[in-house]
Every structure is written in structure tokens, then in C-alpha cells.
Symmetry: C2
Subunit: 295 residues, 2 copies
Amino acid sequence: MQEFAEPFRHGWRQTAQVREVLYDGQSAFQHVQVFDTVPFGRMLVLDDACQTSVRDEYIYHEMLTHVPMMAHPAPRRVLIIGGGDGGALRRVLEYPVDKATMVEIDGDVVDVSRKLLPEIAGSAFDDPRTELLIGDGVAYLRDTTEHFDVILVDSTDPVGPAVDLFGETFYQHARRALGDNGIIVTQSGSPLVMLEELQAAEALMRRVFPIVKTYTCSIPLYPGVLWSFTAASTRLDPTQVEPRNIAGRLLANGQPTGWYTPAIHAAAFALPNFLAAALETQASYDPSALPLPLY
Amino acid sequence: MQEFAEPFRHGWRQTAQVREVLYDGQSAFQHVQVFDTVPFGRMLVLDDACQTSVRDEYIYHEMLTHVPMMAHPAPRRVLIIGGGDGGALRRVLEYPVDKATMVEIDGDVVDVSRKLLPEIAGSAFDDPRTELLIGDGVAYLRDTTEHFDVILVDSTDPVGPAVDLFGETFYQHARRALGDNGIIVTQSGSPLVMLEELQAAEALMRRVFPIVKTYTCSIPLYPGVLWSFTAASTRLDPTQVEPRNIAGRLLANGQPTGWYTPAIHAAAFALPNFLAAALETQASYDPSALPLPLY
């Protein structure tokens, strides 16, 4: 049987058995592939990096979306940068939002996802509250005069087309568009195999936002499995949300979750000691003081 | 470069690059190997299943040991079944215990670990409080008249020499040796790639103990990375431990942890929704009702 694996990171990698290559093309921005795999079902790969799969997409999209949406008392306007598969958009639309704007740089990703991974977005692209823009999210955020309650950065890792999403200028524009009561979340890589990238992203966000909180979950599709997101805000602290409030809003949304629960919301911010140490002390962190995985 | 990978599970596996094979032998019970790997440093493999590594052993051993030790107000007598590498023993001895008895079925595992993975046990095997017995843990527990406050089952998965550790009779003997105020913990596999085994282990423990709680952490060495442990007791509820109490006892132990913290203790019991559902409903669980990873 065919196999797909991302390159080794620190001498370690995961491999998925592949039943069939469903799509293989070059967009204006990146190499786009869809495989039908044994463990994950159909999965999307961009520039040889696994992005999402029909079987485990719910973990990533629930944790990316519900955590900041619940941290805001009543989000009405949401901006998604990237997210061409529609999985984050679908979760945002479970809430009583007025409008969800998605700015995806690569139209091919949207087209391929709608055709080959339709269950990830469900009917989200057809929702009248959805505004889909194919374009550069960095430029959009720089130029927009709109206000957003929540911004989700649902991007590839900080290489290739996504590199400017991980710059200080981007976060300054995000802060302006969010105002004091908004919140931004970005996926921030694996603490196990990309710790330096996570440390760099967190440090950058701290230069712009007074509240910065990293949280984790397990995403089997991604290298290292243990995955991180980092939330930032001027005033909203995502760790200070009442479980009963979350439970009530999930019930009102009316959609089952596979990973996210009120208890998971709180627990996700409890970082392993090595990670708490690595993020708190940044440059002055001494790796010899505590054990570290894979380094 | 050489590579080592466990067999595919549900079409998915992890691979580690291998610098050198340090040991390869057949014991009376199993195939014993030690590899020097790029991601994990030296690692122990039994019957082709990764057991522990010098780089990430702290995660498994801290979560196996500290959770039940903290759940007991003052553990004095501890039994470890398996655990030939000495990593659990070392953490147990950080506490003011009177005696730690270890019953490991395979003396070769102890010998190989002491020689090639000495930093995992540290000086634990030389501690005067250590009683090391090479023998069958199931028979030991059946025949012993001793009382234990904490029993740790630090074994391979329920195949090969460990199979009897996952039987109802074993847990009945454990309950007798623990009395009302003791607690037992067993590693219970990956919720992502061994969910049926976890469900079976939990169901078995529920037939013997009124309190049964599963908790998780991420162990890069193990298939699926997300890993589970299940704790069982007649009266001790490991979810009801004061964080301040944990912090004080960790301070008294005087040893740094890499993964475990008071917040991690509580957070580890917050299960992803699919897993909570799978464990609560057991046989009546309908996999189509909620998304499930890799199934």
C-alpha cells in the first residue's frame, strides 16, 4: 500500500497508509494534494504538510473556534484568515453571529475542499452570513476599517504563503481591528517538535497584547500529535470563562462536539511543566533545568 | 539511517531514526532491544513495542506515579508490578514511603535497563527502602498478606507476559491488598488507536472498584501519542485532591517535574468528549453519534 509521511522532525515522523491519490495539483501558491488514507479518511496536504482530514478535523476546528468564541461574551463579527476547508467557518456559524468573513489566499484550496472534503464545511459556504474573500489576509486586515470580535488564524505553519501571518505588523493590525474586547487565536504548532516556533509566536504576541495564553489538544494528523494554539487579547482572558456558561451556549448552538467540553476548555490551558517553563522564561529558559521531549 | 517503527495500527504509525542498536537479545519472556535514537535518545523495546526512552520517560513515569501517590494522603507501602526500568520506582521513592516493592517478571529488563538506561532509575535500585523481586506479579499479589497504599501496574500492553495483569482476578487481589483506602493505577493504552482495549480495561475495573477514573497525557514514544491511565479505588477519588496540597508535597519531595503539576493533575481527568462518551456508555456506545478519531 502507498504511504504518506511528512519529513522527519528531530528524527521522528508519522506515516499514514494511502488508499488512493484523489487530487494532485499545483496552485498559484502551493502544492495541493488530497489522499484517501486508512487512518484519517480523505486528507488535505499542502506543500507536503498535513492540513486536515475528514476523520480528525473536528479536534482542530473545535479547539481553534470554540475556545475564543466562548471567551467572548457575544461574538457577532468573526474574521477567519485561511481556513479554506471551511471547518472553522462551520463552527463559527453554530453561534448567533451576524457575519463571518473568511479570507483565504488560495482559491484552489476552497475549490478542492468543497469538491473532495465536503463534510468538513457542511453547508457553511452557502450560509447567508458567510462572506468568502479569496485574497491576502494580511493585506485585508491592514486595509479593513471593520471591527471584529474574534479573529481566527487558521493557516499553515510559518513557512510559504503563511509567513506574514506570524509577524508583529500583522498582530498590530489585528489589535486595531479587535479593539479592547476582541480576541485572536492562532494555531501555534507542536510543543514537542516545534517548540522554538511556539516560543517565537508567543513572544511576538506578547509584544502586542497584554493577555496571551497558550492551550493544547491532541491532533493525530499533525506532527507530534500534541498541538498548541495561542490566544491573545487586550482584555479578554480565555481562562476565565464559567463552565456553566460554556455548557449553556453549547446547548444553544445545538451541535454535538467530539473533543471540546466545558472541562476541556479549562484543562487545555494547564500546560505541562516543561512547556510552562519554556513559555514563561523565553530567552532565559535553560533546557538543562527541566527535561524536554525530543530536544 | 536505520529506523524503528511499531507495526501500523489503523493504518498509522510513528518512526524513529536509529543511530545504533545497543542491545538485542531474547529473554525467557520476550525480545529485548535497546536502540540509540535521534528523537528519544536510548530507548527500550520489548517484543517490538516501545517501552521507555531516556528523553521522554519522565512524562509516563510522572503521570503513572504522582497521580495516585497524591490521591493518597500519606502512602507508606507501594507495590510496583513491572516497571523494570526503575523510572516509576524512582518517583515513588521521592515520597516519604517506608518500603517500595517492585515485582518484575523479567530480570533481563532490569539488568539491561541498569546497564544501558541508568539515568531512568537513578539510584532507586540502591535505595534501602527498595525491595526488588524478580517474579510473577500476578502470583505475588495473589499470595501476599501485605497491605499496600498504592499499586502501580507499569506493564506492557495486554499481550504477551502482561496478559494476566488485565484480568478480573488480578483486580480482586489488588482490592484485597489495598483495603478501602488504597488506590491502583494501570497504564491503559492510547484512546486514539487502542480505544477498545481502554474500554475493556475500564469496564473490568468497574466490576471490582466503585471509583474508576481515566486520565490522559501525551507520550511521544507511544503509538498515538495521546495516552491513558486508569485509577481505581474503593474510597479514594483521585480527582478530589487540593492543588495546594499537591504543590506542598511536590516541594517537600524536592525533585523537579517535567510534565506533572498541580494544574495538570486536575486537567488530566478532563476527557475529550468522544472519550468520555465511549467510557460512560461502554457496550451501548454508538460510534456514529459522535466523531471518533481513527475509527
